[in-house]
Symmetry: C2
DNA sequence: ATTCACCTTCCTAACGGTCGTTAGGTGAAA
DNA sequence: TTTCACCTAACGACCGTTAGGAAGGTGAAT
């Protein structure tokens, strides 16, 4: 199916060059077809971008949930600590994370509303899932914090604060930030 | 002087639309001149961008240092805590912070090296200044942390983690992140 | 004091190129 | 025979950039 190949090539280009920087020409080349052939599968650049976006968001959500489920036997502390390494891998290995962050931070001007309508529920869902996880772990003694909701917001904040170094293309600076901020965070939420 | 007006208009456009998204047409309109007149003052779009960049970086560095000097009589805790509010103001009031963050996260493809040659010393200088501040405060009991360098990296991380919400245009979410992450950070660095 | 050359600043016009997009046709599959 | 994926050709719009010239000011030479 070639509309799938277009979708993946577009994801790669949008992730690398951004919406304005990416061109249908380049996407078509990567697939091995001519530019106007894209219009047999998508209504235009905006339509293609929105299809990529829904694919990416559902994929990333699934992968994050899978990470926490797959390691459910490990103690919460190491699960959260290792999340930084997992995120690094995720960002460097696939276009999903790069696309999501770039389009989330700086969406194409004309699609601001439509991007945010997907991004906000995504982030809020992530935050709620993390809050529930912390609440569950409080019962079994995996963590001792007085406000799991605030702790989950803080966790997303420190993770994203480290991720911005990945955005600039410095995995070593990312790891240095992760190493510095993790002990502070863990000590900070455990009263 | 009209090359100054071009510089400021360019800063505003680059901050709002990014390098690829901004056009000399729009910049010229904002100044009130025709597009080719820009070439009487700058060699081209890249040259103009680099001039804006050096202006912005020196301005922002100066303003951050001024913030910490002006409030030097206040306890460190409130100086760092209030930095979040100061940053919010700074981001919303002027184009400087918006330009810096956008160009730092996603610099124009052809200028990656030149942007990073300015950005990296800027961030490292900031980190070193913060480390020295923490070291000084440790002597007077303003803070009790065992590793001021790690604490300063962690502070920049949590600040940037909150700032990414400003990038998306949500000051309320920024404040919620700041409110959640600050107590965690402060408790976390004070052993 | 006048002339002249020169420089800056802005203009109009136009360049070549790339962008997203559309029209219209071809060939194979259903 | 209709439908679908793909093509070539070309559209209009916009991009950054250049050429060439019209004003105005400056400073030195006549």
């Amino acid at each position: 199916m070639s509309s799938q190949k277009i979708l993946l090539a577009a994801r790669s280009c949008f992730a690398r060059d951004g919406y304005e920087g990416a061109s249908l020409q380049k996407i078509a080349e990567e697939v091995g077809i001519k530019k106007p052939s894209i219009y047999a599968h998508y209504k235009g650049k905006e339509d293609l971008f929105l299809h990529v976006m829904t694919l990416v968001f559902s994929t990333v959500k699934r992968r994050i949930i899978d990470y926490f489920i797959q390691n459910h036997q490990a103690p919460l502390e190491s699960r959260m600590k290792n999340f930084f390494d997992w995120m690094l891998q995720e960002y460097e290995m696939s276009d999903n994370a790069r696309f999501l962050i770039r389009s989330g931070y700086y969406p194409p001007a004309g699609l601001y509303g439509q991007v945010m309508d997907i991004l906000i529920p995504f982030l809020d869902g992530l935050r709620r899932a993390l809050t529930r996880l912390l609440q569950r772990e409080m019962l079994t003694g995996g963590v001792h914090c007085k406000d799991p909701k605030e702790a989950s917001i803080a966790f997303l904040t420190v993770v994203e604060g480290a991720v911005v170094e990945l955005v600039c293309g410095w995995p070593d600076r990312y790891q240095s930030r992760a190493a510095a901020v993790w002990p502070v965070y863990w000590k900070g939420i455990n009263a």
